[in-house]
Symmetry: C2
Subunit: 364 residues, 2 copies
């Protein structure tokens, strides 16, 4: 088991990454001084509930904790205020009090919803994350929690740091391979924005990672979380530096929106977005390497690097416009300067972005 400390002053917390950790849930609760007098609410989704809920409940019961559970349908459409209210119904009926804890047992969807429940129930109670997807390594650092509004994703939320994160990589064995691959895209992103060695390590270990080799996976999740935690420690409330985490996300979000959520997973969309950012960067004068290496890495993971041809360029452009990073013919973009280094550019010509989108479609 490896342990990473996310440094956020009095809100600092550890991330435990290893095998067989679900069975340690109760012991970890004790270690973190969580009282057994107050009930614990475990929030999961229909997939993670069936697979892992019982194990977590048992581990808690063994140490004398009382639990209640609430499970939502799988998928993004569960991040709503309506389900937050339902979760609170369960919390109230189970008698959760101000010393209680909410556990998120699942991927980023469950993490965001359960985290927002913990942030707002009685104006904030303890929160423990048990991520069960690779993508959730990202959401396990930074304390961003939220639900969606019919008109905008993640628009209603809070910053609420967990007490600790228990990352049992055994749970990843049941994850569909497409989710594994897409989740790794966000791991690679952490290499690309901050850590050249790690980015190259990812390329070299692509097949091990896709095969969920334990040692490689623990290392990759550790390094991925570490990059994010360094960035977040320096900018907890997203004022400035934290923007670099959005490498690939400007184009990626537009692709997700136009494709309709579902055709492209988030990780798949931002992989293409990172290729787009690298191409723009090269066109603006960075060495060709930035693009070729980025492409090589994503190819090693079998992540597609081209935009599905049937997506309309104008729709993609106007989805980006909607993101409101545009200003007088230019827009703000996070661009790679080299592998492991990015810069915020406020002056990327819209015409160049459009040209890039068009080019990436012909590739497809």
């Amino acid at each position: 088991m490896r342990e990473l400390r996310v440094e956020l002053e009095e809100r600092s917390y550890p991330i435990y990454i290893g095998e067989g950790l679900l069975n340690e849930t109760g012991a970890m609760f004790e270690k973190h001084g969580i009282t057994a007098k107050s009930p614990v609410l475990i929030i999961s989704d229909e997939n993670t509930a069936g697979l892992y809920l019982r194990r977590v409940e048992d581990a808690l019961k063994q140490k004398g904790y009382r639990t209640a559970s609430y499970s939502v349908p799988a998928g993004e459409q569960s991040k709503t205020l309506a389900l937050l209210q339902d979760a609170v119904t369960v919390a109230l009926e189970a008698g959760l009090d101000r010393s209680s804890t909410v556990i998120a047992l699942g991927g980023g969807v469950v993490g965001d919803l359960a985290g927002f429940v913990a942030a707002t129930y009685m104006r904030g109670i303890r929160f423990v994350q048990i991520p069960t997807t690779i993508l959730a390594h990202d959401s396990s650092v930074g304390g961003k929690v939220a639900v969606n509004h019919p008109l905008a994703k993640n628009i209603i939320g809070a910053f609420h740091q967990p007490d600790f994160v228990l990352y049992d990589i055994d749970t990843l064995k049941t994850l569909p391979i497409r989710e594994v691959r897409a989740g790794l895209s966000e791991v690679i992103k952490h290499g690309l924005i901050w850590n050249e060695d790690f980015a190259y390590w990812c390329e070299a270990n692509a097949s091990k990672l896709l095969a969920l080799d334990s040692e490689a996976l623990i290392y990759a999740l550790y390094e991925g979380c570490k990059v994010k935690s360094i960035v977040v420690s320096q900018d907890e409330r997203e004022n400035d530096l934290r923007a670099i985490l959005n490498l690939g996300h400007t184009i990626g979000h537009a692709l997700e929106a136009v494709a309709g959520y579902g055709e492209l997973l988030h990780g798949e969309a931002i992989a293409i977005g990172m290729i787009g950012a690298a191409r723009i960067s090269v066109k603006m004068g960075q060495p060709q390497d930035v693009l070729t290496v980025t492409e090589r890495i994503f190819n090693a993971f079998g992540l597609r690097t081209a935009i599905p041809a049937h997506l309309d360029t104008d729709s993609i452009m106007s989805a980006m416009m909607h993101d409101k990073k545009f200003k007088e013919g230019t827009m703000v973009f996070i661009l790679p300067k080299a592998i492991g280094k990015v810069e915020i550019h406020k002056d990327v010509p819209i015409s160049l972005v459009k040209e890039t989108v068009d080019f990436l479609k012909q590739e497809g």
Copy 2:
């Protein structure tokens, strides 16, 4: 105009109390460095919208601020997640961004709802309170914001401090007298828990306050807010000291619940609760004065000091039980030791509480 600073480290903020302040809204926004580039959302209720919205909008427009507005039905039933979602719809359509501000123009209901919108929109934006009730002097200090759940009041919320509070006492002139009287009950509470001189001053100035004499009102709101701010500064997240603010609230909440919200206003219920606490205190050995003076003060304001006779004692008791401050035949109570001083008692016999409730009913 008087100014009180609520000391909460980097979340400190001023409360401006005076006449004609609504017209200064725009100037105050400028003074607080709020950008005119981002739109402002004004949340009000059907009463305050009709009376004061236009004035606030004009004052902001004069200084170049763009505004949007959202108004909810008057009353407690507007503190819901559904209306929070509606408010966010308006915020999104008006283009509110991370530099935008939400204004609460109204009493405690609007303050709690708008504050929770500000706390959660894009994970927290600026918040300005323009309280228009006397009771809202209480909610303007401390940063507690929340909505209700069908099973529990104020159970979903956050701590979110305003940038500043603009308390225009002219708005109180349209407040129904019953609301004035009930709001003053919470002002008196602040004297009773912390400031003997102020408690006696309230008694001596009861008729001036009920007549909304400007000088008296500004002084009373200032002193009331000051007590609360001292307590909150020492205990922002309600760990301990802050509990003393609940003088009268254990019995008061039970009466509100049993009477059905509406028969007794919050301020009316806690006035009776404070009489109850004083009576329990005397029975437990404090000097008789604590009770006689407390009664005298509330009498001076025409606030009823007895429980409506038709309310069932057992129902009141079980509503208190529901509050879960009970433990093996005793319960936790905030009790006055003297005028201007309270203590937390963890060992008040339930039998004494019941006897007190019964006694207060015979008084009625």
